[in-house]
Amino acid sequence: MKMVTTYEEYEAVDLFADWDAKTQPIINLINLRKWFPVSQQSVLFSRVVAQIKAVDGVKLFLNKGETLGLVGESGCGKSTTARVISKLEEPTEGSVYFKGIDVFQPMTREEELSIKRQLQMVFQDPYSSLNPRRMVLDLIKEPFDIHYPDMAYEEKESRVLEILAKVGLEDYHALRYPHEFSGGQRQRIGIARALAIHPEVILLDEPVSALDVSVQAQILNLLHDLQLDFNLTFMFIAHDLSVIKHVSDRVAVMYLGKIMEMTPTGDLFRKTAHPYSVSLLSAIPRPDPRIKMDRIILEGDVPSPINPPSGCPFHPRCYKAQEICNQKTPMLEEIEPDHYVSCHFPEI
């Protein structure tokens, strides 16, 4: 085996020569399904009584260098989608392509590691996602240990300090433990960890939801700067549409395991096409006392993903539903360039 000794040499290993960043998405999900079985335990055996259809036929793509916002209410399958892309879960059906390669096809360990190196994830909860018994130095060094085992300790250490500075932390923070940090600082550590080995894509699962607004602004600006510095591609998961609007180039709106609408950010607000997107936008309380809105108040709750409604999953709550909506599931279609909608009667 060839000994690779410097960081740069590792980067030179490229398994994705066939992939063309200009014409192909960096991540492409095709009819992705992730169902979690619900089983009933008895003394002798356990049997599967139902399926939680957390992700149920997701189609979406991510272009190199962009930020795709993934928005939806809790439980709609955002985190699960990200976890499948990161290979933390096996899909029940469908495929995940990374630079044109189906990541769930058999591959060599080298290929596997190469994808892991280029694709990192920042987790939802800054409090539980960091191992409390490990110092920040070790937490951020870990990706180097995995991906660059031969790298000299000194080099790893200096790279950790470099990355800490990038996310706005100080050298002395390296020797502290997670519990000694505030929520915002922990989120910086999570980002540093994801960033350490210079990935191309970072999946950010609600990176600011647990933070105070003044700290949230710091992290949003930090992510913006890092994206420019490192030419990063982001998938940014959030349930706050104002945050999504602020960070995203394109937005995908998710409901009950499916993508309802995917479009450039401006169009989501100017040319909202899907009735669910319309309702979501209208539900947000605006921080301007002069705006008096005629709200669309959706009735009822989000149905359970164990027994999602037939046809269009939104039909029991939709103000536009017709007979066909509970019989035929609308497909995600491109109704105008780069504007994808799954609805039988889109608003435009």
Binding site: E73, V213, S214, Q216, A217, L280, D288, I291
Partner: protein
């Protein structure tokens, strides 16, 4: 109009192993009859402690160390326990921040509503149950009569929040303290619950203290607002005035740091550092370590609360010189601060 609730110079401390937490330090504000008032601020600034101080239900290690809380002219701070008990739930009731913990999972909804009603109204169980059912119907629980015997986990998050509202309103209190009543909810459910709160407030002529960090919710529901920072009130006034023209550097920075649907994708203004710890909090103005206008005096002297206009109050040494006034039309855009400052 005379306020129904008048909190003056309230200080509440907690005694912990690592020191004294000065959770509230000379907090003054009021709520008028029938008026929805917002209490706004970031995590840990003392919003919940304020609510709990008013009802005198602080955790054991905490106590009110100074100040007065006048409710309908009576100072609650030194009211005997027995009388205080008559006020809780009947005159003033509170919806707590965490919907999961504030309904006990092992008791049926009726068990969690009827007893309090029977106690205060001195009525029979049946009568109390009817009051509970009426209240549940009022907030839009379908088939309340049947569902009152269900357990909390049999309801969705939005429904549980309605039950809490129904319970808080069952005895028709004059003042409702609602602590982040929609924070844990999804936006479409939040919209439903806000609608209920708004309707109840208007229909019952409730005075309401709405605690939240969501500026959208405040703008929608309240007429006046008190901005908290680090255990103190930094700015008070009519909601519309404060949103159009925030005066205090913290309020200003808070507004600029939220991404909004109206703003374009720009860099957000940030406030450096984090919210202060309240054990040994910063001297002088508690915001001074993070304030870009801080001068020497700010780190030494607590800024006085200066009143002006109809009902505006700002606690800052420099706000008049800063002239942070923003053009009406441009208020959602970046404010430019005068060069000479």
């Amino acid at each position: 109009m005379k306020p129904i609730l008048d909190v003056s110079e309230l200080s509440t401390y907690f005694y912990t192993e690592s020191g004294v937490v000065e959770a509230l330090d000379g907090v003054s504000f009021d709520v008028r009859p029938g008026e929805p008032v917002g209490v706004v601020g970031e995590s840990g600034c003392g919003k919940t402690v304020t609510g709990k101080s008013i009802l005198r239900i602080l955790d054991k290690n905490g106590s009110i160390v100074a100040g007065k809380i006048f409710y309908k002219g009576i100072n609650l701070v030194d009211l005997p326990d027995l009388q205080m008990r008559k006020i809780r739930g009947k005159e003033i009731s509170m919806i707590f921040q965490d919907p999961m913990t504030s309904l006990n999972p092992i008791f049926k909804v009726e068990d969690q509503m009827i007893e309090v009603i029977a106690l205060h109204r001195k009525c029979k169980k049946d009568e109390a149950k009817q009051i509970a059912i009426d209240s549940l119907e009022l907030v839009g629980i379908p088939e309340a009569e049947k569902r009152i015997i269900d357990y909390p986990h049999q309801f969705s998050g939005g429904m549980r929040q309605r039950i809490l509202i129904a319970r808080a309103l069952a005895l028709r209190p004059s003042l409702l303290i609602a602590d982040e009543p929609t924070t844990a909810l999804d936006v479409t459910i939040q919209a439903q619950v806000l609608e209920i709160i708004k309707e109840m407030q208007q229909r019952l002529g409730l005075a309401m203290m709405l605690i939240t960090h969501n500026l959208g919710v405040v703008a929608e529901i309240t007429k006046r607002v008190h901005i908290f920072y680090g255990g103190r009130v930094v700015e008070s006034g009519a909601t519309e005035d404060i949103f159009l023209d925030p005066k205090h550097p913290y309020t200003r920075a808070l507004f600029d740091s939220i991404p909004s649907l109206e703003k374009d994708k720009t860099r957000l203004e940030t406030i450096p550092g984090t919210v202060p710890r309240l054990i040994n909090p910063p001297k002088g103005c508690r915001f001074h370590p993070r304030c870009k206008y801080a001068t020497e005096v700010c780190s030494r002297v607590r800024p006085p609360e200066i009143s002006f206009g109809k009902e505006r109050r700002v606690a800052c040494h420099h706000f008049e010189e800063l002239d942070l006034h923003v053009d009406e039309e441009l208020f959602v855009k970046q404010a430019t601060v005068k060069e000479e400052v």
